[in-house]
Amino acid sequence: MWSMIREAGAGLRRNLSMVISIVLVTFISLTFVGAAILLQMQINQMKNYWYDKAQVAVYLCTGYEQAPLCPDGKVTDEQKTAIEATLKSEELAPLIKEYFFEDEATAYKNFKEQFSGSDVATYVEADQLGQTFWVSLVDPSKSEVIAQAFSDTAGVSSVKDQRTYLDQIFQVLNGASLAAIGVAVLMLLCAVLLISTTIRLSAFARRKELGIMRFVGASNLYIQTPFVLEGIASALFGSLLAGGALVLVVKYFVRDYLVTAMPYVSFIQISDALIVWPVIVGFGVLLAGFSSALAIRRYLRV
């Protein structure tokens, strides 16, 4: 076993520039694989945090709306009672998990918090924000029903499903992770090609020794193991680097920068990156093992 590791080490030194290339390519490819995984984790995190909390807002008229929305001005108490009755109606009640009423004061408090530091906060007054029924649905994807139910109701200015905002963000994040996967797939293809070329070069350099091994009856496993180890070792180094890079990105970019810049968004933790690290390393090692085993098997088949 020890002699096999030594053989593998000698092989790596022989093809140094190839090995550096493999390390770099696996590093980049697995970093992108990891980035894609982390982006998906981020999406899930945001979904968990926001998606189920995402409610349908039934905005009531404030009196400040543009012409066609609220012809009767500010919502009256009768209108409010009617709206609440609709929410409790046979038609809608089974769809609704719960709803609550937000009055103007609470809305203003939330708004101030959300936009603190922005100019908008200084322009807006409590009575402009108006009152809202926040509706949580049993099946959050059925928001259309609520929108239709209140489309012509007096005193309702508009119905908004918060999920539509989130879906846009998720779309962008999904696009980014697809792009990362695209780069990763190309680079992984490249890594496989490089690993198999390196293994063949290594086998070619040792062809005399391999010939001797074969006629003294060395088993295929004994012959092939150093080559597979060689492939794995170079990929291992690249994948360790990739995992490290991801942890650093999460630490310095996500936790230190983004978390400060966007305090209201829930971001992935360093612990998430630490989970991804072994996944990536395992993936890189498996990939390298398979491609070098395949390459050496094809080379040694006579």
Binding site: E209, I212, V216, G217, A218, S219, N220, Y222, V302
Partner: protein, 228 residues
Amino acid sequence: MISFSGVTKQYRGTTKPALDNVSLNVDKGEFVFLVGASGSGKSTLLRLALKEEKATVGEIFILGQDVGAISSRKVPFYRRKLGVVFQDFRLLPNKTTYQNVAFALQATGKSRGFIQEAVPDVLKLVGLTGKEARMPHELSGGEQQRVALARAVVNKPAVLLADEPTGNLDPMTSQGIMALLERINAGGTTILMATHDTMIVDRMNKRVVELSAGHIVRDDEHSTYGGI
């Protein structure tokens, strides 16, 4: 021990078979010379016995095994039962005498303890005691061939295949190698040796099989190179 029956071997891309319907039986403990002009098929016959090549037609039984039927996974285990020596020694240039012999045992998965016992024994057998630490280039041709022989017999194979083992050696040195082979043969190992060397064949007075263009044209007990 070794039995070829109706064996034909045609290399891909050639028109004439290298071996053509060859049948040959070698008993346990025999010493057989394989002679014939260059290109007559001697090396091909040995290569088939080693399962380095597959016979196109015919059956080969060696040590009771149907060589054609051995799966490629089993080939290494089959080869461990054979010893092989070549004209060009085929030693690893960056390993010492001791390491070259030990390497064959490591590669077949022998324990460290076994190796430490077996290697000095076999080096003593071939007369290389004291030269364990020499590199191949520090050895004469005859000594290099002794290392190769030591490697071939360290596993105590029942059959030894030798392809012109004295081809690169001068007559005096060849003599020494032949004496060694005779000793190994006397120990019970069946030997099949391809050679061009008239003098050796004539002196040894063993069974001679002559190939010509892939056919066996002569098979005599206790014969000489040119004799009938």
